[in-house]
Every structure is written in C-alpha cells, then in structure tokens.
Symmetry: C2
Subunit: 453 residues, 2 copies
C-alpha cells in the first residue's frame, strides 16, 4: 500500500543478548561475556545509529526466561538500559517493551515521559499484555489474567497514559521569573480517571515531553491484538513466515483503522526478520547450519513447549508434533501458537526440524543469503504490500548488526528505499508520524490546584 | 562515634531542579530553562564526580509537587535519569528514591539490579514509604495507607527484594560454550515468598549485580522509620536543625542496630545541609537574603501547610502558627512535622519567618558562610558524634555545587577529612561498606527449573 513516491523503509535494530539465534552465544563470533555490560549495548546502539536505523528495540518479559541454563541472559530492564543509551546516542529512537498487565499507568506514563525528555524525543513504547503464568506468579497471582481481560486492561491503561501525557499543555511552562510564575497551572489539569481497572487523579508530575507522547508500538497479532493495534498503535511488530501471510495481515490491519477514525497510513507495519548474511549464498547457508548445529535440544524443546502450550519433554526429536490444544485454550501468545502450529503442519516438520526453523527468529522469518539477496527480500515485502519496514533481528551480535549496517543498508540506500541521513530529531520524525496534539488542550475549566494539606 | 583514625566524611550531591532553595529558579545565577534537559544533570553529575563525592542523590514523589505554579520542575523519574547519568560518569554513586507503597518488589528489585549492572556497581536505593494522600490518588486509592502499615509493607517489600537479588549466586553464570551451559541453574533459585503483602515466586530475571545488591538508604526519622533504618539501612538521610538534636538522633539510631544483629558502624548517618557559600560571611548572608526576598508567599504557605498537615491559607503571614494537630494524627512525614513544629515553637517564629527558614532546606539545616565556615560546620558535626557525612543540598544550581566542590572540598581534603581520590569503583567502596554475601548461597536443594508449558 505505497502512499507516496518518497515512501521509505523503517528499520529497527532489535537487540538481544548475544543475538537472536538461540545458539548464538556458543558461536565464536559472539561475545556472551559482555551481555551484562553497558559498553556492549552502547556499541550496538552506535552501530545502529551509524546505519541511520529508526530505533533500537528491546523486548521484555517479567520472569526468568525459560531454560536460562542454555542461553545467554544479560538481564537489563529496558527503560533503564535505553535511558543509558539515550545519553550516548544522538538521533536513534529507543523502543522499550513494557507490560500493561503488571504495571500501573501512572508509573509507566511517567517513565516514558522521562525517557522522552532524556532522549530529546526518541522514546517508543512497545505495549504488551504479557503471556506467561510465570510472570503472574512474580506479581502475587497464581493464575494469569485471561487474554480478553488483559486486552481490556491494556485499553484502559493506554487511555489513562494518554490522558496523563496530555495533562500538561505544551506551553504550560511559562518561566516568568519576575512574577514568580513557573507554570501556568490553568494548563495543567487533573485527569480524574475512574474506570474499571484504574482510578487515577493526575496530573502527571512530568511536563509534556518533546514528542507529546512516546511512539506507541504493539506486537500482538491475535484478534484482540489486531483490534488493539488498529485503535492505538503507530507501529506494529509482527511475525510472518510467508509473503502471502504478511500481505494478508497487512491488508487486514490497515483495513481496521478506519473504524477507529484513523487512516491506514497512521500505522507502520514491521515484520521481524532475522538476516543471516554471507559473502555468498552458500556461505550464509553454512553459517545458518553452524548455528543450527550448536542448538541445545533441551532448550529448543522447552521454548517450543512454551510457544505451543504443550509439554514436549521426552518426545522423540525425529518424530512429528503431538496433537495440539485448540487456539481458544491458549492464554499466552495466541498468534505465535497459530504461526508455529501452521508452519509445522504446512511443511510436515519433525520436532527437530521445527526447533531448527525457530532457532533464529522464534517464529520470525529467517532469511539466509548475500546482502543483495537480503535487500531483495526486504524490497519485495515492502513494495508488495506486506511491510512498511522491518524489525531487524541479527542472528548473532555484534557482527550480524555490523554486516547489516555496512552491507545491506547501502544497497537499500542505492535503491532509494532507505534514508541517507537523519532528517529529523525524534522517533516520530524518523517514522514520518505527526506529534500528537494534546487531547485536552484548550479545555475550559479550572486547572490543577493542589490541596493545601 | 569515630571508629578509626582514617574515618572520612561521606558526601552526596543531592540534586534538585534549579537548586534546593524554593526561590532559586528566580535568581539570575540559575538556569531553570534547563531542568528538563539531560545535559544539565550530566553537568551536575560530572561536577560532583570531579569533587570525588560519594554519590548523586535524587528525591522523588509520585504526585505533581504542591504548587508547581511557583517553583521549577524538571520532572525526571529517578531511575531513568540515573541510568542516563551512569553512561556519562565513571565512579560516582547513583542513589534513587523509590517508594515501597506504590511499587511491586519484583519491578523495583529488577530496576535496581539493572542500574547496578549498567553503572558497574554504583546503585543505591533510598527507600521511602510516601507520605501524601495525593500520591495514593494516582494509584487507585482514595486514602493513604496508614503510617504503621506502610512500614509493615516496606519491611516485607525489602525482604522480598533482598531474596530476589540473592536468587542468583555470584558464580551462577558459567558460560560453558562447548557444553552449551550458560548458567548453572542449581545456583539460581525461586524464592517462593508468600507473605502478608506479597506473593513472589522468583527468581529474579537479572543475574546478581556488581554490588550484590544496591546500597540501602532510608530517610524517615519517625519511630517506625528509625526501627526500619536500624534493621535495613546502610545509610540514613535525616533532617536535623541543631547539633544537640543531631547527636541525639545519631546516638539513638546507632544504639538500635545491635538488636537487629548489626554493628553501629554498619549504618552511615548523613544529615542534609544546605550550604550558602560566600567569599565573606556577609556575602553569604546577603545571598541568603536575596533568595528569601525572592520567595513567593503562596508557595511557602502551601509547602508549610503540607508539612504541618494544616491548611494555613489566608492566615496573617506576620502572625504566629495556629494550633497544630497531634503528631499521632499526622499520616505523612511525622518526623518532619515534629521538626518544623519544634523549630517554630523554640524560636517563636511567625509564619513568614518560618517560611524563610524552610526555604533553603525544607527542614534541613541551612548554613551560610565562607567555605571555611561551611567546612568548620561539617567537621564539628562529624567529629562530635552527629554525622558520618552529609547530603549536600546546594541552594542554587549549578553554581552552588561548583562552589562546594571547588572551595569546600579542598579544605576538607587538607584537613584529612575527605578522600583525595576514589579508591574503589562501587558505591559500597566509597561508603566503606562490604558487598553483601548472598543470603541463599550454598543452600541445598534444587535450583530453578522452569515449567515447560
């Protein structure tokens, strides 16, 4: 759905420990001893900025990852890590994943407003509802909130956050030293939200931030997730295995925005892709095979068990998948369940083959080839109505990101598909999305007067 | 209570917007337009590090400050701001205030572990229970949790946090690439906490951090606060107006540690002090008077109303305080209530005089004089059993911190009272406090095995 002759790709660097391939940390090209070290992430963020990418993107979960025995874990919390990266970068966007299920809207709205100020307008929030009962158990609950209820809470959560971000008008700070007036408190308003899940008085204790509010990103592709995205998301991160599936998803999501009063072009759709880059196609395939050969089967079985909501422990690796539950009974990541189940069925994969297929991208597409071939793939999806850009998931780090920036980006630039310089300063600038007008600006009525005691 | 011939002062730079004086932002020496700008805080943190101070310290509240109309507000959230400062400093400690009343222990423990990794072991947590019903109203509650219950929750909160920090043994990461073992999960344990306020399974999703856990700081001086400090705190921030009161507090608190199995020297006691530095005593007093003359009475009345739990609006500024409630009926900051009430009574102050006295330090002592006189004051309290160091609260910024670092610190160094170089890398090193041994190290029994589905 190209919208203008200057339509350009949007590319995020999705950073993860030693790389996205689950065996990357075992490969001699990686530096897993550095994943708890800020300098490692500084280096990666600067590489991404050198490549003029739109953002660095961090996933998150609120429990120790399944089977940390067999994969590298740095453990940085996204908002703290991205705040540190804000201080050592100038232009690149900073997208943090934060759950609406285990946080409070005042706290989350405030942290993102703070990051947006710290970074001069480069904050983005990847909104997730969390899909794992083990996360619930770290927050006083024995059971995980049901999928539909999680999205109900997420909608109210984002509504409250937006009201809080809008509780300060842009020009509320007047800084009138001679009259002793710092803020025009007629332009700072309580929100007095009283809803089903939250009661929040406001206003926020952070002045309106450079972007108005952070870019809103969303990553669930279930029915609930797509409706949520159509209503709130400015960028959508999605896992798609085939061009046809990606086109269908793209068309479906863009068609849903109108009923929420939004244009199709108000949402950027960004599938994840794990590029395995080689000097020749054979070299790329050999590298992919090396990584597969380093996989620890116990790790793969545990990961796959989680995705499928089914304990696969002890099943023969060279046999087929057992019968799977119905998607209705999955209370975690429904769309990932469907994707993996369909992939296995479509290609008739054994357990071992499926684990190999999922090793690089956990359901996101892995493309192995030369830089030219990777660029061809991105271009095809971009021009054929399947993507507005991509979350780039280097299979190993830091080299996999270096190669993407040094080899693939120049090809995309030469084809006119990607920027050759940053033309703006904020993440919204990079995405070509407008700064939101404060929803409460110009409202009549009294501003905020604190109770004196 | 000097403990050794090499006993040295501990000094934090307590940073606040345009400075601690409530009229600082109106003074031409300040730069209030920069308080929403990261570069301003970078400059301040680097100044503090140039002065070899122990830490930068950030207060916090979870509501818009009373009467923001008349005082500058940057609005940075402490953990994000300190994470950004971690990236541009090398040695100085980073102490963030976070409330146990409006957060979850898993989230807070994780954020501090992340900051401790990011900073190479420089994180400190100033534990507060929050004292303001307006904070409660931002978190779904109409009433503020009662003082005693807040401390009960705080104790359990910190217990859970420590268990989470200790859920990884120091040597759990083995990084055995050839055998595919990243972490020895026998050394990573769930905590299975089931208490009155929290149920948390654990383990934490962050490996044990450089300091084991962040330095624990506490800032309440009520009975509950002192008992909490004696049990948990490694540093205590307190407001004291006179040497005699400070000595009594110091002796009292140090005498309480034994019943919790701790030595008196396990806790550093740091009164706040607001140093107004002049080239002569007269110049310092003139600067203090300039700041007083810039005070906005409405602001002072609102602040004082909050501290005293009594609406003072409309009372004659040149009259006495009205009758005050009993301390038992104060559900906010009890010790600050007592300090302010006693100050007014002892000195027979009018409302206007009291507002002037509180303008620089909100109850912390303001000392106006030459650098030599400031140093004399710090030395007296340090050697006379009233302090192990100080939270330095510059009345105006950035100049007030520059003067302290460039003029007062060299005098303290010449007198052998303060370090002349950093001898360690972590905040615990600076404070001369040991790295905690993991409380669960060497425990028998199974480590963590994630449920496969």
């Amino acid at each position: 759905m190209p919208s203008s002759p200057t339509r350009r790709l949007h590319l995020n660097a999705f950073l993860m420990n030693a790389g996205h391939h689950d065996a990357a940390w075992r490969h001699p090209l990686t530096e897993p001893g550095r994943v708890t070290d800020l300098t490692y992430f500084q280096q990666l963020a600067r590489t991404a900025e050198r490549g003029l990418l739109d953002s660095v993107f961090l996933a998150d979960g609120l429990t120790l990852p399944r089977n940390v025995r067999h994969n590298a874990l740095g453990g940085f919390e996204p908002l703290t890590l991205l705040s540190a990266l804000a201080a050592v970068t100038e232009r690149i966007g900073l997208i943090a994943t934060v759950s609406t299920t285990f946080n409070e809207p005042f706290t989350t709205a405030r942290a993102f407003a703070s990051l947006d100020h710290l970074s001069g307008g480069r904050a983005g929030w990847n909104i997730v509802t969390s899909g794992n009962v083990e996360e619930a158990r770290n927050f006083g609950r024995d059971e995980h909130l049901e999928h539909g209820l999680r999205y109900e809470r997420a909608r109210e959560f984002v509504d409250v956050a937006v009201k809080l971000w809008d509780s300060w008008e842009d020009d509320a700070i007047v800084l009138d030293r001679s009259n002793g007036v710092y803020a025009d408190t007629d332009k700072v308003r309580p929100i007095d939200h009283r809803g089903t899940h939250f009661q929040v008085r406001g206003p926020l204790n952070v002045p309106r931030s450079p972007q108005g509010h952070p870019l809103l990103v969303q990553a669930g592709s279930s029915e609930d997730g797509k409706e949520f995205a159509a209503r709130y998301a400015e960028a959508v991160f999605t896992a798609q295995q085939t061009l046809a599936d990606a086109q269908a998803f793209y068309k479906d999501l863009k068609s849903r925005t109108a009923r929420h009063g939004r244009a199709a072009d108000d949402v950027r759709i960004l599938p994840g892709v794990c590029p395995v880059i080689g000097s020749t196609e054979a070299a790329a395939r050999a590298l992919a095979q090396q990584l597969t050969d380093l996989q620890v089967p116990e790790y793969g079985v545990a990961q796959l068990s989680g995705m499928l909501g089914t304990d696969l422990t002890g099943l023969p690796l060279d046999g087929p998948l057992p019968e799977l539950p119905d998607e209705r009974d999955i209370n975690g990541n429904k769309s990932r369940f469907r994707l993996v189940a369909e992939l296995a069925r479509r290609e008739g994969l054994t357990l071992r083959e499926l684990i190999a297929r999922l090793g690089g991208g956990r359901g996101h597409l892995v493309v192995a080839g030369t830089a030219e071939q990777i660029a061809d793939h991105l271009q095809e999806w971009f021009t054929e109505g399947a993507a507005d850009g991509f979350n780039i998931m280097p299979p190993y780090l830091p080299g996999g990101l270096d190669h993407f920036v040094d080899q693939v980006v120049p090809i995309l630039q030469a084809r006119g598909l990607f920027r050759t310089e940053y033309t703006g300063r904020t993440l919204r600038d990079h995405y070509g999305l407008p700064r939101p007008v404060g929803s409460r600006a110009g409202l009549p009525g009294a501003g905020w007067v604190a109770q004196p005691a």
